[in-house]
Symmetry: C2
Subunit: 243 residues, 2 copies
DNA sequence: ATTCATGTTTGATCTAAGTCAAAGCGCGTG
DNA sequence: CACGCGCTTTGACTTAGATCAAACATGAAT
């Protein structure tokens, strides 16, 4: 858990949710309740049911939201990348297990003051509404993937989405040789896609064998032809709404 | 498409999103852009990609949101019951196919004036944020169902959720002999659950055979023991967050 | 009453993905 | 360097649910 005012420049709440139209005194108020927390890959951030007295924005790294059934079956229900929002204003207890998938830094705000600020500052709420609606679209996109796609289409969809969000923060990866870090283990991918880790491994091997992807080490993914990968997702075209 | 000011009493936007703290002049503004539309069971409300110049609230009946792949595979990504909200402020084109599952009445507001009113009236935005966050929780609950549950658990989960929302608008159905209308065809259930209609039919037959549910006609469902049905959902207990 | 259309049930078979099991591969540590 | 630990790959086999196909209800229209 670090406290570094210099990091403000990368804090997405300030920049995306708040700053765009913030007055100085609002910034000051946010500043007063802001703190940073860091987690190592694999560490839990919070468990479902725990009291959660903060909301946060992902500064760097990747976090997962998941739901577990008591027999151990687990479904990832959200993947938080930098600038994504964590927590729910007005909710006292965490609804999901949150785990740091890679090394993770959160910019946290104590919940009560954040809620107070939100009620005073309409555009924070508006920004949050926008973000939530985007997340809802993502969730619905995932429902299609989970409910109707084959294992191969699921893997291709996940890689395409990660390529879009991870590799090119902004730029569309239609270029040849898109490269990006794969922050997920096979098990995490399986939990996201509603598959077993063996099936994930087999499908990735198949995509590799067919030249649709290459692996550099175990984490670096190279996509020689992004369009060819998209063709494997089952989506009509560029498809995926994914925020 | 009907225009009946008397219906205002049942319009959820007014009552849930707006009225609670509305000033009279805000009500007047909403009134001015409000209109009702009715659809028969099976009719499309709007297709994905169409321009959508209104937002709406379900007054009565059930509507589905779904996504289709071009080969015909379809996944329902939302089920809108009375009081649920349809449409996205700021979005010009529909993102999903919307179909009236049963006879349906919507209370519609022209989008632009609604957006304007929203920007002037913070608590409409707050209410919409609450509703969207609830929907996001529902969507995530469905991701668990789609990704990790067996066919039998899926059916039991759907019936449990419908029993909660449909039968008892408010009261929890822990009572014996919960009865409710099943507004969905086998195909619609299959599209919701990521199954085929044959599998849905077989599982319902099995639940019937085992006395966990009874069917009166083809649409009336009787749940003799709600807890016993819940035990089939795979959830820890009362489970389902579903809004 | 007969026909037709739409939805449902049930059966027989097939297959994609799960399960179980055993290596393999880095990689950090003693 | 060898050991062990976490992760991944691959293989052999099983199975839940899909697919294909054929009745079976129900109710509205003729």
């Amino acid at each position: 858990m670090t406290f570094d005012p210099k990091d403000c420049g990368t804090c997405p709440i300030r920049h995306r949710a708040v700053c765009a139209r913030c007055e100085n005194d609002e910034l000051e108020q946010l500043e007063a309740v802001k703190f940073y927390r860091s987690f190592e890959a694999g560490q839990p951030v919070i468990w479902s049911g725990d009291t959660m007295d903060f909301v946060a924005s992902v500064v760097s790294g990747v976090a997962s939201l998941s739901q577990a059934m008591e027999d151990g079956r687990t479904q990832m229900v959200g993947l938080l990348l930098p600038s994504d929002f964590l927590g729910r204003p007005g909710r006292e207890f965490a609804a999901y297990d949150v785990v740091a998938v890679s090394n993770l830094t959160l910019c946290c705000f104590r919940r009560k003051p954040f809620e107070k600020l939100m009620s005073q500052t309409p555009h924070i709420g508006h920004r949050l509404l926008e973000m939530t609606l985007d997340e809802l679209d993502s969730a619905r996109e995932w429902m299609l993937i989970l409910g109707r796609k084959t294992a191969r289409e699921k893997i291709a969809s996940l890689l395409a989405i990660l390529a879009r969000r991870e590799a090119s923060l902004g730029l569309r990866p239609q270029a040849k040789d898109t490269v990006f870090e794969l922050p997920l283990t096979r098990e995490a991918m399986a939990d996201y896609l509603g598959l077993t880790l063996e099936t994930v491994s087999r499908q990735i091997s198949a995509l590799k064998r067919e030249g649709l992807i290459q692996l550099e080490g175990k984490r670096q993914v190279i996509i020689p032809d992004y369009a060819a990968l998209l063709a494997q997702t089952g989506d009509d075209c560029d498809g995926a709404i994914m925020s």
